[in-house]
Amino acid sequence: MIDGIIEKYRGKPGALIHALTEIQHENRWLPREIMQKVADALEVPFSQAMQIASFYKTFSLTPKGRHEVHVCTGMTCHLRGAAKLMAKLEEITGLKPGETDTQAKFTLEAGSCLGSCSIGPELIVDGKHYGRMTPERAADVLKQYE
């Protein structure tokens, strides 16, 4: 699959971000060996590939968990108590934003403004929105995920 993606963009340095996005989506992270292969195939310096991969936060240079737990930390959600919700999620998962647990089950992320400000604070797990979330209900939401 990954080789297919690399072949699709061979010789196209301008497609670096597209290639990395597809590989990230497919593989859930960007191992160094694959970064090297991408850099070689797309004819960009390895340092440039590393710069892009470390710059954009949707790319992960370390393995991510099966489930992405996202707490919106946009301005409205912040006003409505996102910090308390995040503190609760940190407590439940034992993670800080950006970290993944040792079972690779959850990755905790802080993200800003996913556009559902009216129902903040929001918890988004694997793309599913849980609006009007309170710290008390957060644990129950996570229990649904294996």
Partner: protein
């Protein structure tokens, strides 16, 4: 549907579609916008589809899933026509009754709006206070169309402006009309769109690009996503008209990667427009060729800045370029590129259809037309709102927004997210516009209006906004990278009671230098929120610093 070769064929198709529709037929529209979706409107929509089949009334009741109706905190929203009956907080259990009553032209009383103070009912959209005070030129169509069906857009008059522009106006005439309308950029810059178009048009290079900036990174702004998800054709039509006026052959829609429904709707819109011949070669027989590509961001705020966005479309890191290299002259791959915000493009069709004079009759002296506002924060009614420029903020916060929940007092209003500013509630009679609000230190930015109540800690808000920007800085230039971080450290110290007397002096210097010396708008405006907090809420800072050093010396 076959490809349309002329504007006459387009009008014929429109007539056919309209003739096949009965305006008096009941229609149920379920909102699939971001907030309603988060409140599980998908389950409600599924229930409707099932119930209509179960009751066997598909021939008697139309059903569609639409984009954002606007009244986000009251979702799931359902609009029943004819008559625009608004139902709020609809649950799957309510669905059978709604279907049955719609078929009979009746109203389900318990689901309609009730005034929280008087209990008075408002059944129709025109009576509901939230909607009553708006002027919904841009978003009014959203509840009436299924964004994945181009026929719906044609039925409400879509692409008639494009037909008019291509068949009755030269590219210069289109450009002059937009200039005359004084359409100013809605993404935050407020720069006259017509002038930008003209610069791009006059640039010597033959290859030109037009871009829709749908990045919407501003915190608290969600109207662009509502527009792109709910009526992508409107934006697309504006883009095609603009490309015609400017002489561009290729367009890009650049938007966020994290909304699957928005991606689906834009993709469908592009496909269907192409199928009908509204994109591609020789559009409607005019000899004008134009194509559009959809690009996604990869999750970094600075890629919403126009020159950084163009680097991103090229496949490079989104590092912004200095503003004196104008992107209208040298943009994507150094070719003239005209970038405008979603809302700016969405205004173009009506300006062409109804004329610049109509547009300038709305709004205030220097800010014309309407403005989409994302109303949120400590406010009773929150959602996507559209009002004429010049509307007093009081109208938006109280008449539309319903004031602050639980009877608390409002303290401040914030515009422009992390690059805007706050004004105290004493200034609530200020009109919504570009220049006046900028003078007050709270430029409206993309239009995200945040209401903050009496318990809000303004120092913490300033710190929070800087924290956001610090993570988004690209890191190239010293004033932004180092200056913002030092400001953040000082504010954190103040909040933790470690503030010191010369902190305010250091903050003043840092805000001044970051504004003057930074490379791009992110750095230049990064200290604006803090500046406005210091301008209007300085006593809070001084008190906190004094309390901190008092506590500190007590500890000794």
């Amino acid at each position: 549907m076959p490809s349309l070769q002329t504007t006459a064929e387009l009008e014929e198709l429109r007539e056919q579609i309209r003739a096949a529709r009965d305006p008096s037929k009941p229609c149920i529209a379920v909102c699939g916008g971001a907030a309603c979706d988060g409140l599980d409107s998908a389950a409600v929509a599924a229930a409707f589809a099932a119930e209509i089949a179960a009751q066997g009334v598909a021939a008697k009741v139309d059903f569609r899933i639409t984009g954002c109706h606007g009244y986000c905190n009251k979702g799931p929203n359902v609009l029943v026509g004819p008559g625009d009956v608004c139902y709020f907080e609809v649950k799957p259990e309510d669905v059978p009754e709604v279907v049955a009553s719609a078929a009979k032209g009746e109203v389900v009383d318990r689901l309609v709006y009730r005034d929280p103070a008087t209990g008075e009912k408002a059944v129709h959209m025109s009576e509901v206070p939230f909607y009553k005070h708006q002027m919904r030129i841009l978003i009014g169509d959203i509840p009436r169309i299924d964004p994945t069906r181009i026929a719906d857009y044609l039925a409400v008059g879509g692409y008639s402006a494009l037909a008019k522009a291509l068949s009755q106006m030269t590219s210069d005439q289109v450009l002059q009309e937009v200039k005359k309308a004084n359409l100013r950029g809605r993404g935050g810059g407020g720069f006259p769109a017509g002038l930008k178009w003209e610069t791009t048009k006059n640039a010597p290079e033959k290859t030109k690009y037009v871009i829709v900036n749908g990045h919407e990174g501003e915190s608290g702004a969600f109207m662009d996503r509502a527009m792109l998800t709910g009526n992508p054709h409107r934006v697309l039509e504006g883009l095609i008209i603009g490309a015609y006026a400017i002489g561009a052959q290729q367009g890009y829609i650049y938007t966020r990667h994290d909304s699957p429904s928005m991606a689906r709707h834009i993709t469908a819109a592009l496909e269907q427009a192409k199928e009908l011949g509204l994109l591609g070669k020789n559009i409607l027989g005019s000899g004008f060729d134009f194509d559009v590509e959809l690009h996604f961001d990869v999750g970094i705020f600075v890629s919403g800045e126009s020159s950084a966005l163009m680097r991103s479309i090229e496949g490079n890191t989104p590092e912004p370029r200095p503003k004196y290299i104008r992107t209208s002259v040298s943009g994507i791959w150094d070719k003239p590129s005209n970038l405008n915000n979603v809302e700016t493009w969405a205004n173009v069709p009506e300006i062409i259809n109804r004329g610049a004079d109509w547009f300038t009759s709305i709004g205030s002296e220097k800010s014309k037309g309407t403005k989409l506002v994302s109303l949120s924060g400590h406010v009773v009614n929150s959602g996507v709102v559209e009002v004429p420029m010049g509307t007093p903020l009081r109208t938006i916060v109280f008449d539309i927004g319903g004031g602050v929940p639980e009877g608390r007092a409002p303290k401040a209003i914030h515009f422009g997210g992390a690059m805007g500013g706050s004004i105290p509630i004493s200034m609530i009679d200020a009109p919504l516009d570009f220049d006046g609000m900028a003078k007050l230190g709270a430029p409206i930015g993309a239009g995200g209006l945040l209401v903050m109540d009496e318990d809000t800690d303004m120092i913490e808000m300033a710190r929070y906004l800087l924290d956001f920007l610090v993570k988004e800085s690209c890191g190239k230039c010293t004033p932004c990278r180092e200056g913002m971080y030092q400001m953040l450290k000082i504010l954190t110290n103040i909040i933790e009671g470690k503030g010191r007397k010369f902190d305010l002096e250091r903050l003043a210097d840092l805000t001044e230098v970051t504004s003057l010396g930074s490379l791009c708008a992110l750095g230049k405006t990064s200290s604006d929120p803090l500046k406005s907090m210091l301008r209007y809420f300085k006593p809070e800072f001084e008190a906190r610093i004094a309390a901190g050093s008092a506590a500190g010396s007590e500890a000794k």
